[in-house]
Point group: C2
Chain length 274, copies 2
């Protein structure tokens, strides 16, 4: 069966069109798509080429394509609208009501959303990424005093990707502390963490899932054995409970969701806004 | 002057509402906002609380708040609409046309966009993040054969954050190779890169900007001196030219834009879709 084509067309990176488009499409079960991102479509000529591609895809599949667009230029948008497709333009739909509410015209200028109009934001994200890398898995000198949040958990519970996501997406300074066997056998909060109790956030995960993840990393090791995984996770949960560390089971969570739950739970300010 | 409040309300992480909301707001120059994300608003009772917060913010500032929402539940959405605010609901606006086009009802189920419905995607992103970390800055054994792309550039040209972003956002396997003094003095492509010419993508940056970045890292060092920076960047550009490596000046680019330009320039498939 041929798949319906979905296009994400933007005069910039297309991240916005992709994000919203996918959110919408996940609301339709069972539908199959072939999707293509076409970023940096900023001129009438480029838009005309895009229209050709869309129309071709429609002819080939026999199904009318769906186009998610974020285009600020009225002329470029008018060209795109000539495609034989369902064209959902996010800017067209919402700029009007916003102009009315704010009582000002919109700039109709592309390149603003993710441009370098905000050098400070860019620096904050890079800075936070460097911070996450420097404070990853107990490597190097720990700088928990500067951290916005310190993620605590056993090996492979999702700490590193979450710290990096918090850094890149929000400029949040996230460190992570891996719980060692010694930590898990002790009744006390690890000494390195004790002064920063309010910054701690625990990650946990279901034993079967953790076993699977560790097995991919070190097949048939003690590290990846079910008893080891179960005992570590149990000890970590006990620690979280005793020290009153808020925590989240990441088994069914995406990275976005883990990050949002942490920001929300810790009442953390996003340092940058995309 | 009091600032207008902007709310991002979602039954999930709010990433979609934030992304589109910010894209739209950047189209209005000079307007000042106070923004707040309210994720995981999934029940009528939670929505009623949100309405109170919105109305309070409006009373305090004397300016009607703007609400960007992604809510799939009709009842929750109906409650939110009672707020005294300009409420732009992305799902309400676009699910209708999509239902008509696809000739099927939408699921009206929250938690799909970033849920774990797709374990494969999650694994791909984590896997790519681990790959980027393992192949960062020439550390450890290089695995360029498995890479989708290998970023090449001088120290602090933006390689690491870009690799991590490509991994987390798209599941793309991105390695990076830092050009050393030896590499820059040679007339040849570094031996480690030669077999992977088609995967190479160069990053460059304006000398004044690189100097500033390096100065923050190692103040008043030779590493951060203008002559050093200029000479490295010149040699890197020569190398890119001689080896016909496509390259991008990242000075005015956001991380999103660098990533999109690389995917677009290298015709790379996104391995995951958000």
């Amino acid at each position: 069966m041929s798949k319906r084509s979905v296009f994400f067309v933007s005069d910039q990176t297309g991240v916005t069109a992709e994000t919203l488009g996918h959110s919408l499409l996940t609301q339709f079960d069972g539908a199959q798509y072939q999707s293509l991102s076409l970023p940096f479509v900023a001129t009438v000529a480029q838009a005309a080429e895009v229209v050709q591609r869309i129309d071709e895809a429609g002819r080939e599949s026999g199904l009318r394509p769906i186009v998610f667009a974020t285009l600020v230029d009225d002329q470029v948008r008018a060209v795109l609208r000539q495609a034989n497709a369902l064209c959902l333009d996010f800017f067209a739909a919402f700029l009007g009501p916003l102009e009315a509410e704010l009582a000002m015209p919109s700039a109709h200028a592309s390149g603003r959303a993710h441009g370098m109009s905000n050098l400070v934001s860019y620096a904050a994200r890079i800075n936070a990424t460097n911070f996450a890398l420097a404070n990853d898995d107990g490597a190097g000198p720990r700088d928990y005093a500067s951290a916005d949040v310190v993620l605590v958990g056993v090996s492979r519970s999702g700490k590193t990707p979450t710290c990096l996501y918090l850094a890149l997406q929000y400029g949040v300074l996230a460190a992570n502390y891996p719980l060692t066997d010694d930590d898990l056998e002790s009744d006390e909060l690890p000494a390195a963490l004790a002064p920063y109790r309010s910054k701690l956030f625990g990650l946990t995960i279901r034993p079967d899932r953790l076993q699977q993840i560790r097995h991919e990393r070190r097949p048939n090791s003690r590290y990846a054995s079910l008893p080891q995984v179960q005992s570590e996770l149990r000890a970590a949960l006990t620690l979280f409970g005793r020290a009153a560390i808020p925590h989240l089971d990441t088994t069914e969570c995406s990275i976005e969701e883990i990050a949002s739950r942490i920001l929300d739970g810790q009442h953390l300010e996003r340092r940058v806004r995309l």
